[in-house]
């Protein structure tokens, strides 16, 4: 009997529920039906699980071109008039931060995390000749420093971005996790085989001066994701040739996989800006002008083939297999070949971003075409 009575009074529709609340003294004015209520996801049983790009629909998928959301309100949620302005977000325009496939890249980042503690076969490290171990340690020092910068820079922009653009925001958070792991794995490599961290890089470029002084998100992304990360990706890809055991191979292979996600983020963002905000084209070309000057000079570690930096000397020794003249010469040859591929990949990425005309209209740095023609 008690159950039957309960059934009779239980509200069966949303309107009845509101009426029930009103009659029985419950404050239900916050309870509102959204457009997506009752919608079933046809992708929920996919083998890849439930992805952000699958769930966002209706008002939740509607990414505003401009937003006044400074209260931390999740995109699509209803406003609360009394909400405090908790964020002084500088990025409130979609084109300033957006990219196609942002959610996809974030989901991939989450899925492809790894651990420097257990996913690197550290037990395969073995005693190396002194000059090779020192070179490994110098390179690991350089890469620890690089990754520290790469983690630091996106952090600043996360808190500047309105939650309406949560996809790039969350990707940057995942990038920081990646960079932290890279900084830790190279620190471990420097210390794990009886060596240690060696000399800090003196270059202002490497210390983040040009990346961290970026005044705008797109400028930062071009400098960090396309230039910096693209070039570090080349070093990681060379890593297999600089590896003397399976532990080092695993480090470079896994780090390269992460790094290529960061590069993809930058390329897709630059492409979005180029496609949607033509007025910024000249401005972006000016960033690329500066980036290419560094790319050609390469004294900030961008060019593994240039002489005169401790990290490049280490790379040459590792690639050649020693510090005698013949080994160094061989190492330089390999580094030069990788350098050529590095430049080609940079050019290809800029073309994909829709800014490739600079390579045909004479604007690109002359030194780049020399590498491509070589």
């Amino acid at each position: 009997m008690a159950t039957e009575a309960k059934k009779k009074t239980a509200p069966s529709t949303f309107e009845e529920l509101l009426e029930y609340g009103k009659t029985n003294g419950y404050k239900l004015d916050w309870l509102q039906q959204r457009e997506t209520f009752g919608t079933e996801l046809d992708s929920a049983d996919k083998s890849g699980g439930l992805l952000l790009q699958d769930v966002d629909s209706g008002p939740f998928a509607d990414v505003p071109e401009w937003t006044n959301n400074v209260t931390g309100r999740p995109r699509g949620a209803m406003t609360r008039p009394s909400a405090a302005r908790i964020g002084k977000y500088a990025i409130r325009t979609k084109a300033d931060v957006w990219l196609k496939n942002g959610a996809q890249l974030y989901e991939e980042a989450v899925q492809r995390q790894w651990s420097s503690a257990v996913d690197v076969p550290w037990e395969t490290l073995e005693e190396l000749p002194d000059d090779i171990e020192r070179a490994e340690c110098q390179l690991a020092t350089f890469l620890t420093e690089v990754e520290f910068v790469a983690g630091d820079v996106p952090g600043r922009w996360i808190s500047e971005t309105s939650p309406d653009y949560y996809e790039p925001r969350m990707f940057l958070i995942s990038q920081i996790m990646d960079e932290a792991r890279h900084a830790d794995v190279f620190r471990k490599r420097a210390l794990a085989n009886g060596g240690g961290l060696l000399r800090q890089t003196s270059s202002a470029a490497l210390s983040g001066a040009s990346i961290d002084s970026a005044r705008d998100f797109t400028e930062m992304s071009a400098r960090l994701h396309i230039s910096g990360e693209g070039l570090v990706l080349s070093i990681f890809r060379m890593g297999e040739r600089m590896a003397y055991n399976d532990a080092e191979k695993a480090i470079y292979r896994l780090a390269a996989s992460d790094e290529s996600r960061h590069v993809a983020f930058g390329v897709m963002h630059l492409q979005y800006v180029a496609q949607t905000d033509a007025e910024r084209t000249e401005e972006i070309h000016s960033y690329l002008d500066e980036i290419e000057l560094g790319l050609v000079a390469g004294t900030g570690g961008q060019n593994p083939a240039v002489r005169g930096t401790p990290s490049n000397a280490a790379i040459t020794a590792l690639l050649g297999g020693g510090t005698d003249e013949a080994s160094l010469r061989e190492g330089e040859q390999i580094a030069a070949a990788v350098r050529q591929r590095q430049v080609k990949e940079y050019i290809q990425r800029i073309k994909v971003a829709g800014l490739g005309d600079r390579f045909t209209n004479g604007r690109a740095a002359a030194g780049l075409s020399d590498y491509v023609a070589a």
């Binding site: 991939e108 890809r237 297999e240 896994l254 996989s257 790094e259 996600r261 590069v263």
Partner: protein, 150 residues
């Protein structure tokens, strides 16, 4: 052990059957699963033979022969000459996994042109190669567990 080797099924490369056999080993490979999800349709080209493989999250399926003009629907293509595929797979068999000179990454850096590309020059899709290299290398290293004939 010798008897087992002599009776082992020899699978022709390249063929749909060869890729299916390696795929069945790879989906059960803990290392492959550890490296995480993929989302890429890849064509493997060896002269006239083009085999398409769908790396779908942690599954590997929809393995089929395709025509040249269907490569445009693939995220990226990995192309080697027949002798290069052969040498790579022999090295994998011999060393129980690719040695330094025969990893996908080394091969991509070694020649004048990369071994991977997107047919429509879509760089985002072509760059999937870099993002998925650890998983793809596990896939090909698992070829050491079968007997390949050429």
């Amino acid at each position: 052990m010798a008897a087992k080797a002599s009776t082992a099924k020899r699978i022709k490369f390249p063929s749909v059957g060869w890729y299916e056999e390696v795929a069945s080993i790879t989906v059960a490979d803990q290392q492959y699963q550890k490296y995480g999800r993929l989302n890429a349709i890849v064509a493997f080209k060896s002269e006239d033979s083009i085999i398409q493989v769908n790396f779908d999250v942690l599954n590997i399926h929809e393995i089929k022969e395709i025509e040249e003009d269907e490569m445009r629907d693939c995220d990226f293509i990995i192309e080697l000459e027949a002798d290069q595929w052969k040498d790579m797979l022999k090295d994998i068999k011999k060393n129980n996994g690719a040695s330094l000179d025969w990893t996908l990454n080394t091969l991509d850096l070694k020649y004048d042109e990369p071994i991977h590309r997107n047919e429509l020059e879509d760089g985002f899709k072509a760059d999937l190669f870099f993002r998925y290299i650890p998983s793809l290398q596990v896939f090909f290293d698992n070829a050491s567990q079968i007997t390949t004939r050429f």
